[in-house]
């Protein structure tokens, strides 16, 4: 009580030490990871850099018309121009920001919604659990792409409704998995002890259950991101997702698709950009799943 300053300093030091060792551990694990996982991390890293620094990397403005339509690949325009005469490389770079950004926001929103309701259903049980679970059953009975098309035609195709609709449909899957893993934790002694201590619902969910289920949820986040990303790309390709003039990979494929019959590779490039990122994320998730399940076996 008399000397509070040193103890708080000690604590800060301790936190710092743990942080360093944690960072080192991550680096160590990465070096020991299989080739596919390292490749995945590298891919994600490159995409993040491109997305963050898009305006500085891109040679032109996002929807600036810089030349004639469908210019071939060349010096001035590395990947040529699209159906309106916009630089393909520029749009590809901005696409990293728009497409990935929107998919990421959607996934985070889906996780907050589905994860929160999933834990609530597991902790509270009873009629709330029944109500939520049956609602999720019904939502999952309709194939997600079809349902999102129905909802998009009702609410119109804006970015906001895209995020809300895809997020809601994806939250159902997250609800199921969160509820399932939380149910295993809810019955454990330390949760029981916290309940008997008289802790509130918020404490139990955030401090007791959430830390125990974070590993499977982290892997699920990667998987869900891929799903959301592919769904949004598919919808954009169909002309129902992200709308022009926003640069987006799915609609870029759609805009330049006619070129394919002239033996032009241009439409394949935004499609490949989608595929490579999803593959990278999947490699990392696969490694992570392998790792966490392996650790459990050892314990």
């Amino acid at each position: 009580m008399t000397t509070p300053a040193p103890s708080s300093l000690d604590q800060a030091d301790a936190v710092d030490v743990r942080k360093i060792s944690r960072g080192q551990r991550i680096v160590k694990e990465l070096l020991a990871a299989p080739l596919s996982a390292r490749l995945g991390v590298l891919i994600i890293f490159i995409y993040v850099i491109v997305a963050l620094f898009a305006p500085w990397i891109a040679p032109f403005g996002e929807s600036e018309i810089v030349g004639k339509k469908y210019l071939p690949w060349g010096e001035a325009h590395m990947l040529g121009t699209d159906n309106l005469g916009r630089d393909m490389l520029t749009r590809l770079i901005y696409g990293a920001r728009n497409t990935v950004g929107i998919a990421l926001v959607t996934t985070i929103y889906a996780f907050l919604l589905g994860g929160f309701l999933g834990i609530i259903a597991a902790v509270l049980g009873g009629w709330i659990d029944q109500l939520l679970s049956r609602a999720v059953d019904v939502l999952m009975a309709i194939p997600a792409l079809i349902f999102s098309m129905l909802l998009l035609s009702i609410f119109g195709t804006s970015v906001a409704s895209l995020i809300l609709i895809i997020g809601l449909l994806d939250a159902t899957r997250i609800f199921r998995i969160t509820r399932a893993v939380s149910l295993n934790v809810v019955v454990m002694d330390f949760v029981e002890a916290a309940r008997l201590r008289g802790e509130k619902l918020g404490w139990i969910t955030l401090r007791e259950i959430l830390p125990s289920i974070s590993a499977p949820l982290a892997a699920e986040f990667g998987i869900r991101f891929c799903f959301v990303f592919l769904t949004i790309s598919a919808l954009s390709f169909l002309g129902l997702g992200i709308q022009p003039p926003t640069a987006d990979w799915g609609s870029m494929v759609r805009d330049t698709a006619d070129l394919i019959t002239f033996e032009d590779y241009t439409p394949l490039i935004p499609a490949a950009a989608i595929a490579i990122l999803t593959i990278g994320v999947n490699f990392v998730v696969d490694w992570f799943l392998h790792k966490t399940s392996g650790l459990k076996d050892e314990l």
């Binding site: 019904v138 035609s153 394919i260």
Partner: protein
């Protein structure tokens, strides 16, 4: 036996209930829209009087539950109403379109199911081998690939460069069976490539799960031949998961056709749905969604029923 019948009845009634709720969602969702069909047909310039008259003709002035019962009753008799876009009977269009979609899905299933089962069983038998790991990486990649990427690669190399198969599957009228096969070949291969990985991984997981059981180990320790272990001991128990995988995959194929149909301009239900959503032709959207959802729900139902029926524990109760 009584047990099984009761389980089946429970499952079927649950399926019917789901279908009912789904139809309710599709109907109510659309009636929440601002404006209605009468307004959409007549456009902005219509006077309130003409809109009111058309509304009465279309029965839009009735309360929602009456309209729902009329709508559902009509569909059960094959009457899907009329399209706002071109005023045609939706039922006529949808019949042909749905048959086309089923043809494409069946074609893809004929290629993908045998392929996935063989690859999956091999991966399970030689698990953790080089083959297994290679297949793992390849399937992971193909799951992560958007359908249109695979489709355009195929179009570029197989159709445009090599000229082996047509890149457009615009079937009109009634071409012969073989011309139809030729024209739907590329879409079917695309669907196969996209779906085979998922099915293969599920098969692999099901077989590995079985092979880790103690009675298989017992058979191995007895010195039985590997082929006999698989045929006599593993397969009888593997049917349920495998059948499940197949039917779920069929459901996936029928729903997954949407993007592929658009790429290849194939006149199926998916293409119709996309067009209708773009034009906001709500009666057509409703009809397509209902058919897709009903197919999906019933295939899932069939998967469940088959897995109940192929479960040896339920068939031979103690």
């Amino acid at each position: 036996m009584k047990n099984i019948v009761r389980m089946l009845l429970q499952r079927i009634s649950l399926g019917l209930l789901t279908l009912f709720v789904v139809s309710l969602i599709i109907f109510l969702g659309v009636s929440m829209l601002p404006g209605d069909a009468a307004q959409a047909i007549l456009g902005q310039a219509a006077t309130p009087d003409t809109v009111a008259i058309l509304r009465k003709q279309l029965g839009l002035d009735l309360p929602a539950h009456t309209r729902y019962i009329q709508w559902l009753g009509g569909i059960l008799q094959g009457d899907f109403g009329t399209s706002i876009g071109n005023g045609r009977e939706i039922g006529e269009v949808i019949g042909i379109r749905f048959a086309n979609t089923l043809f494409l899905a069946a074609f893809a299933a004929c290629i993908s199911i045998p392929l996935a089962l063989v690859l999956g069983i091999l991966a399970a038998l030689y698990r953790n081998s080089f083959y297994d790991r290679t297949v793992n990486v390849i399937t992971l990649s193909s799951i992560s690939t958007p359908e249109f990427f695979v489709a355009y690669i195929l179009i570029l190399f197989v159709s445009v460069k090599a000229g082996w198969f047509p890149s457009l599957s615009n079937i009109q009228g009634d071409p012969g069976f073989f011309e139809r096969l030729d024209k739907t070949f590329l879409p079917a291969v695309t669907l196969t490539l996209v779906s085979v990985a998922y099915m293969m991984r599920m098969t692999r997981a099901a077989i590995i799960n079985l092979l880790s059981q103690s009675y298989i180990e017992m058979a191995e320790l007895k010195g039985m031949r590997k082929a006999r272990i698989i045929v006599r001991h593993a397969l009888p128990n593997a049917w349920a998961p495998i059948v499940n995988v197949i039917v779920l995959n069929l459901a996936y194929l029928i729903v997954g056709v949407v993007v592929v149909e658009v790429v290849f301009v194939y006149p199926g239900l998916g293409q119709l749905l996309v067009d209708a959503v773009q034009r906001r032709d709500m009666p057509v959207v409703q009809a397509c969604c209902l058919i897709f959802a009903a197919t999906y729900v019933s295939l899932n139902l069939i998967a469940d029923i088959l897995s109940i029926l192929t479960n040896p524990r339920l068939l031979h109760p103690k």
